[in-house]
Amino acid sequence: MYGSHDIPIILRSEKLSLSIEMEGDVKHYSRECFGETVNKIIHTKSSRILINPVEPMSLPKELTPYLLIEFEKLVIIEAESSIKVYLTFPIEIGVFISGKKKFEIIDVLTLANQKFTLYGNPRDGIICKYWSSNVHASMPATEPMREGVIQLEIINTSTHLIEVTKAVFNAYAMKIYYTDDLVAMQAKMRVMAGEIAETDFINLPLKPSMRKSVELYTARKVQVLGTKFVMENGI
């Protein structure tokens, strides 16, 4: 389903159906996902749409730019060493009208569960999108329409053993790459002394054949000031 498609188009899968039909100059967009139906009338000269995974931050409401992934297994790392693990992350699917080097978002949908959580305390903590993931030593099998894979390198720069239970990321920095059967990102988590960590994404595909997603923040031309996130309220 991912990729660029000509209009008119009808795409159907087990949990999702999406169509754009022509009626004169007007295009009728229709989408059904988990019983929710969205109908829109689009007036555009463009005759192509792009469907690709986007940052999981728009649904059910754009409340926060942060994603917290809770590890189902504790990761223990000895002093001054690093480990590469694979986590899953939720996917939202962006539908764009594509023009000449220009993409305009028309719809965002998801098949993943939605949940928010608080990182830190209610006074000065932050609300994050929540996702629980198992920690894998090798690339796990995933449903590419529902979840993607993050290859996370955890670097322990401190002089003592650390226990990592979660990672918080800034969605402004997400660099998502995809193929039809895999959605993936690469990220880094540098743990410093005092249980403080810094997370950031790496703008490289996990496999050479992967295509880069058009991200929501790029499409909306939002100026991104910082891409890193400093985890000060526990790791």
Binding site: P60, L63, Q114, F116, T117
Partner: protein, 294 residues
Amino acid sequence: MNYTDPNSILTGNTTTIIKIIEIIGILLFTIVIGKLATIRFRRFLKDKISKDHLETILKVIQYGIISTVIIFIIFPVLGIQTSNLLVFGGIAGIVIGFASQSIVSNLISGIFLMTERPIKVGDNVNIDGMPGTVEDINIMSTVIRNYDGLYIRIPNEKVFTNTITNYVANVARRFEYVVGIEYKCDADKAIMIIKDIIEANPFALKNPAPQVFVDSLGDNAVNIIVRIWAPSTDWYDVKMETLWIIKKTLGENGIDIAFPQRTIWFANELEFANKIKCVETDLNNLIGAECESL
């Protein structure tokens, strides 16, 4: 015949020119000092006060410095006796002070509100029992729009001296329900169902974790407390929709919400039961006789 010494005229003119130059010099110096003071205050206050309010305060500081210099330095140079002005000003000050007590009080409170910032524009607050959304914070008053859409202007003195509850000052907040189920129902099952409902709501936060537990064995019901944390911006929506979902889902699973009721047990139950039986028989006979006569 009047005779004027040309030297004295020249001296007088020179003195006047010197005075004018002196005044212009003092004024320019004061303007520079005022400008420097505003730059300094801007740096000091820029993180503490919003931009609009900061500009007002800086103008007050700048013109205050210039006015003070004019009254206390330039007026004496011009030969205007400020001591007279001080006496007049003192009396006028007392009169104006009494008359404008509340205005000054509101002004000072406004400045404190702007620096302390217990509320911001857009916050949902409750000031002195008046809940609403803050529309504007001015130097003299604060404007809130209550939840009925009414415009309420509150003098800053009242805002500052009363209890302010800011519902969105923290990023998350907790709310609570008490769900009373019937004694015959399974409380463990009810707790499990309620936890599933909370889990399904995206805005009911995963952490801090919700609490669902039997709190008390009441007169008419087993009371289950439900405590949910939600983002401050969305807690009321979560509160509104979740309770009815809990009620419906418990009902669908055979768990009924209890209502006040009283079970009465009679001391001599057998005798009472016989009497009831007799009354029932008499009633049946009576109804039978009535039917036959018809």
